[in-house]
């Protein structure tokens, strides 16, 4: 029973990380990344080939570095980030929203196809397996002990990553990304290099995706194409939208409700005889329906985005009265920071 609960706990923390990554891309910046699961997969695969020693019998794959945690996972994160840079450079500059979504979903399908068929890359349809469980030997953990341990480790990683994301979202960078989401023409007119910022958003989000994927493969010890049909991106979107796009607490709530309860709980129900996999199919269809209901009845999610109040910036509050008496010229001059090199004869 405990192991079952800790498995759910692992998926809660892992999908919290994944949701934070998609959140900065979609919730904050407004990029419809329908290929998100592809980045998660790259993170998982690269972490796998970074962890496995070279040339394990029965599997074909590139690299094989035998690296320990956390180096292997970081490699996964960086690989996903590199893919994001490539994709962004090709697609972001000139594509409108739906074209971007089309390219991304196509990318997801092609990546899937590729990994399935190109065996020497990540062992094709069989995928990678027997990926070493971090610290299991040194701590002398059995299978079940490892589950508990790794779920807690993932929790720690999630906490660190939450802290980083929190900082980013609260900073001017987060605000600029939201500005671009709301109106990229106005944002550019205010001096924001929208392409570069969208690129940053893709990179950060994909890094999170890669880390989440890396943790996935180490938890289960294996990863293969059945784990990531493009529809899986949608589950992450569901986490986002149900929880509340745009804020981190929403991500956690979403992960709890969608991933843990909706997706994984039923996996522990007994199979219906004569219909293998039926429960899983109904479950996923249900996720889709829940999302549509949520989008219709409460599009802001369970935990809506909360805007920052003035006090949090540390500036002193002013007497709450309209101007009128305020010396406009002086105030505007001070605010504008007018330089002193204007010709005094120029029409004052």
């Amino acid at each position: 029973m405990t192991y079952y609960i800790f498995t759910l706990v692992f998926f809660l923390f892992d999908y919290f990380i994944l949701a934070m990554g998609l959140n900065i891309q979609y919730g904050i910046t407004g990029l419809l990344n329908f290929a998100y699961i592809g980045f998660v997969a790259i993170g998982a695969y690269v972490t796998g080939v970074a962890s496995l020693p070279a040339n394990v019998a029965g599997q074909h794959y590139i690299l094989g570095l035998g690296l320990p945690f956390p180096l292997n996972t970081l490699m996964g994160g960086l690989a996903a980030m590199a893919l994001a840079v490539l994709v962004a450079l090709i697609t972001l500059r000139r594509l409108r929203t739906d074209y971007l979504a089309i390219v991304l979903i196509s990318l997801s399908l092609v990546l899937y196809d590729f990994c399935n068929n190109y065996v020497s890359l990540f062992n094709g349809a069989d995928g990678l397996y027997n990926v070493p469980a971090p610290f299991a030997k040194t701590l002398g953990l059995g299978v079940n002990g490892f589950i508990i341990f790794f779920a807690c480790l993932t929790g720690v990683v999630a906490l660190i990553m939450w802290f980083v994301m929190h900082r980013i979202l609260r900073a001017p960078l987060g605000r600029s990304l939201r500005a671009i989401r709301d109106d990229h023409v106005a944002s550019a007119a205010l001096g924001k290099d929208t392409f570069r910022m969208q690129l940053k958003s893709m990179m950060i989000g994909s890094f999170f995706a890669g880390i989440g994927g890396g943790l996935l493969i180490q938890f289960g010890g294996s990863f293969n194409p059945t784990a990531w049909l493009p529809g899986e991106t949608f589950v992450v979107f569901a986490v986002l939208i149900v929880g509340g796009a745009g804020n981190n607490i929403g991500m956690f709530v979403g992960a709890l409700l969608v991933e843990t309860l909706l997706v994984h709980l039923p996996a522990f129900l007994p199979e219906i005889p004569g219909h293998p996999g039926l429960i899983e199919y109904i479950d996923l269809a249900l996720v889709g329906i829940v999302l549509m209901l949520m989008l219709w009845f409460r599009p802001q999610g369970i935990v809506p985005e909360r805007l920052r109040r003035t006090a949090s910036f540390g500036a002193p509050e002013r007497p709450d009265e309209d101007a009128g008496r305020l010396d406009q010229t002086a105030a505007i001059a001070a605010a504008v920071g007018a330089e002193a090199d204007h010709d005094p004869g120029s029409g004052r």
Partner: protein, 274 residues
């Protein structure tokens, strides 16, 4: 000598213009919206860009601010050539613009709208966010102080924490201007600031624009309301059929038969009675 040069030497100004364009053309699917626009915007003054509908004024504004690229021609911000620059780069060099239909950042608060406009924010860089939080915190506080002061000037202080999408139309117009001012512009392009604004607010806005000039900002405004132009503008550029038709003071231009002809049927004389 170009029309602009002639006008300038006539006006007797000796300093270099804040904003300059020459030979600008822009066609959309074969139809020329702009066909040889050329003018100098004198520094520190309020200049109006007027002309009948379809004269290409908004297209020129879009080109000057980098929102569109011209097919031919060059433009300069001060001494720097800005031909072909994207809008964010031109904005960073000191030319900011407002939009005719207000483009508020709806999901951000009024204060955040202004903060977005603050130039040179260290916090836009990921490296700084991770490694130099103290610097960012300080900058945010300074920017917030400046922004709050501006909000008070423009009468938006009490809405500082309101999401911008919830403002009224008039408030959004004020926000549009306040936000541009927050960006410390050297040149401010106003695209029909008085459009759809009720008469009481027109006076207030006019006052704000004059205050901008007093603070040393160069203003170029596209405007249909010639009454406003008469009251606050020092200099006028007339555009018709995508070309610069004439420049000078409004009183002189009213005598110019070509200008009057261009406005055929439109409100050139009636406005004097407004």
């Amino acid at each position: 000598m170009s029309v602009a040069d002639a006008a300038q030497s006539a006006a007797g100004t000796a300093m270099s213009p804040a904003l300059r364009c020459a030979g600008i053309t822009k066609a959309f699917q074969g139809v020329h919206a702009v066909n040889g626009a050329e003018f100098d915007v004198p520094e520190g003054q309020i200049t109006a860009l007027i002309g009948p509908n379809g004269a290409g004024k908004t297209t020129v504004v879009n080109i000057l601010s980098g929102a569109m690229k011209s097919d031919h021609g060059r433009m300069y911000l001060g001494e720097t050539e800005t031909t072909g620059w994207p809008s964010y780069k031109i904005a960073r060099h000191g030319l900011l613009r407002t939009f005719q239909l207000s483009r508020e950042l709806g999901g951000l608060t009024v204060l955040e709208n202004l903060l977005t406009a603050a130039p040179n924010q260290a916090g836009d860089s990921l490296v700084n966010v991770l490694l130099r939080p103290g610097v960012i915190r300080r900058q945010e506080r300074e920017n917030a102080e400046r922004a709050l002061q501006l909000l008070e000037v423009y009468g938006l202080y009490r809405h500082r924490d309101t999401p911008a999408r919830e403002l009224s139309g008039g408030q959004k117009k004020l926000l549009e201007i306040a936000r541009a001012v927050m960006g410390s512009p050297k040149v401010l392009l106003l695209d029909e600031p008085m459009a759809g604004v009720n008469p009481a607010l027109i006076d207030v806005l006019g006052g704000y624009i004059l205050a901008l000039k007093a603070a040393g900002v160069t203003v170029l405004m596209v405007e249909h309301n010639l009454n406003v132009v008469e009251r606050i503008c020092d200099y006028v550029i007339v555009l018709a059929e995508g070309r610069t038709l004439a420049t000078g003071r409004l009183s002189e231009l009213r005598q110019n038969t070509e200008v009057v002809k261009a406005y055929l049927g439109e409100v050139m004389d009636v406005s004097a009675a407004n």
